[in-house]
Symmetry: C2
Subunit: 346 residues, 2 copies
DNA sequence: TTTATTTGTGCAAACGTTCCCGAGCTAATG
DNA sequence: CATTAGCTCGGGAACGTTTGCACAAATAAA
């Protein structure tokens, strides 16, 4: 089952001219007469000619496609980011090739292998949670492959990065709970390997300190696999409840963790916010439909995808090597709902 | 910023042999001596040689990439389908190139243009809601491009299709409400242009008829843009409440509509299920966290993606044209929660 | 020894496109 | 009339790979 396309040769044969003339006519070269151009254009139209990007890629040593590595497509945050990436890429005539690491270092390396063997022009990456060695990226980057990191970035490689102002986001969420009267605030975060985790935790601690609350290590849990496995989150909640003094609020530092924590609390029959208040990162548009409506930190995911893609294309299309790189920070948005209602005096 | 790859030529030069020998050695051809093979393999390893798929694509007239057209990536149903597609494609060494129609016929045609000009080996499509003319697909299909339709399919083109047993799904949801004592059941569905809409509506009517309930046209609403615009759904709900007799239950025939309807009812301050019960299609894993926990029809989205991809690859890799096509139907799953509790006698 | 067969290797064409180089033509200049 | 410049156009190499064919060397058979 083969599908034969019209080539420049077919046009040349039909018109009795050379392929070079056809090529030049199609590219509107100055050295072709207007009549010939007219003829070629018309013939191309008639035969429904489409340039073959594979041949072009071979000739020009570029494929007009960019690779993406994220942990999971089905995560709404990432699907929104991809949406942003796709919109810019499409406008500029680029394909996107999407791969998933499923939070596994090994699969990330595999995906990278796959993409680099497909000769992509550039790469957009949000690292897997297991990744703390970035040498596989570094190697390609050193060879000249343009890479832009977003969300989960690294400082090990000198390139553009785009991410949320994670410190501020976590600070906002934590301070909001404090201002509503909560003092024992449990935190559930991703793996400590992730850059974003540490920034978010820093924001959390800073908010506590600013309001003179002494942090309690019994109230901090890390989920190594980002809550991919529900039991991780149950364990985190269990730890809180095993603590000498139960927390009166929980803040969750990723989408999956927020949903997972709510689910876990429900299964335990704990009332939110009466028994425990909640706030967390969540990029679902319908957080207000949950029971209870959740107070959330929303990330500008679409914008993140767009920004990262613009920076990448800039890298790809630049004539000379770029030396100075941008570290773009995006602003989070706090939306207050009833999961974090002011604490009732008891 | 160019990124130079190692070619077969480099190996040939390094070893002082011809490129053909290298090529054959790498493909483990029987006509190359074991020692030469050893030498070449070792050298390839050392130089970190990766075959250039672009050159290969040109030579073999295939790109090992398949195109996808869906209406929206950020829709969880579709991101789950894509997940399924990606898993199979990746295993077989294919790229996927994803495009979105955003429910617009025009953008669908554009996406198709884009994909076909990128010389893909095959195409997976779920049509946009505006599409009732499939000639753009027909044209490419006739030229020999393998296409498989999933979810929103068409009978205008003779090829493999994969979709939910939509009739059964709608029947199940509707009958469930009837069995729980509801008799005036409003239906919110997508555009009548979509094949799946009509099948779902047929299931709805059949369930009513089977239980001797006379359908009421005042209780049926179609959202042309699949609820992409929230006001569409508000209008549908308004229509129900303007009806002589209000419905006592609502069934929604797509994910977006289900979420939209719940949101709309909440804004009006209507209690579910006390004032009106609900059931609908929904592929969110956490439908149980909503207020109220929703009774839903879940589609095997991952499986749909996998099946469609397997059928497509079968089409692509088949030596001779395939004449008999499969119309695969997948089974829906009904999950009952409290949004459709048995009606209280009043 | 000659002939046939096997084994290992290289040459060159092909895929579709671009682009350097040069050729033929007309018209203008000296 | 000879030279040059400007305008069109064609030839052919190149991008990286595969593959049919030819050829040389080695071995086996006659």
């Amino acid at each position: 089952m083969k599908f034969e396309a019209v080539t420049i040769k077919d046009i040349a044969k039909a018109l009795g001219i050379s392929t070079s003339t056809v090529s030049r006519a199609l590219r509107d070269s100055y050295e072709i007469s207007t009549e010939t151009k007219q003829l070629v254009l018309e013939c191309a139209e008639r035969l429904n000619y489409k340039p073959n990007p594979v041949a072009l890629g071979l000739k020009e040593r570029r494929t007009r496609s960019i690779g993406i590595i994220v942990c999971e497509i089905a995560n709404p945050f990432f699907s929104q980011v991809i949406n942003g990436i796709e919109s810019i890429a499409y406008d500029k005539g680029y394909n996107v090739i999407i791969t998933q690491s499923h939070e596994s270092y090994e699969r990330e390396v595999e995906a990278l292998q796959f993409l680099s063997s497909r000769s992509i022009d550039g790469l957009l990456v949000s690292a897997s949670t297991e990744t703390n060695d970035f040498s596989h990226f570094k190697e390609l980057s050193d060879k000249g492959l343009p890479i832009v990191f977003f969300d989960r970035i690294t400082n090990a490689i000198n390139t553009h990065t785009v991410m949320l102002d994670n410190f501020k986001a976590a600070y906002l969420a934590t301070e909001h709970l404090i201002q509503n009267g909560y003092t024992r605030i449990g935190a559930i975060a991703n793996s400590e390997f992730l850059s974003i985790t540490n920034e978010r935790m820093a924001g959390y601690y800073e908010a506590l300190q600013h309001h003179n609350i002494v942090p309690d290590e019994g109230l901090v849990s890390h989920c190594f696999y980002s809550g991919l496995d529900a039991s991780e989150i149950d364990d985190a909640i269990n730890k809180f409840f095993a603590s000498k003094k139960r927390p009166d609020a929980i803040v969750c530092f990723s989408d999956k963790l927020t949903i997972g924590a709510l689910s876990s609390l429900k299964r335990r029959g704990i009332k939110v916010p009466d028994e425990i208040a909640m706030a967390g990162f969540l990029n679902y548009t319908f957080a207000e439909l949950l029971d209870p409506p959740l107070s959330v930190i929303v990330q500008p995911a679409l914008e993140m995808g767009r920004d990262a893609t613009e920076l990448l294309l800039q890298l790809i299309e630049s004539k000379r090597p770029i030396q100075t790189f941008e570290k773009r920070l995006l602003a989070p948005q706090l939306i207050v709902r009833s999961s974090s209602l002011p604490k009732k005096k008891s």
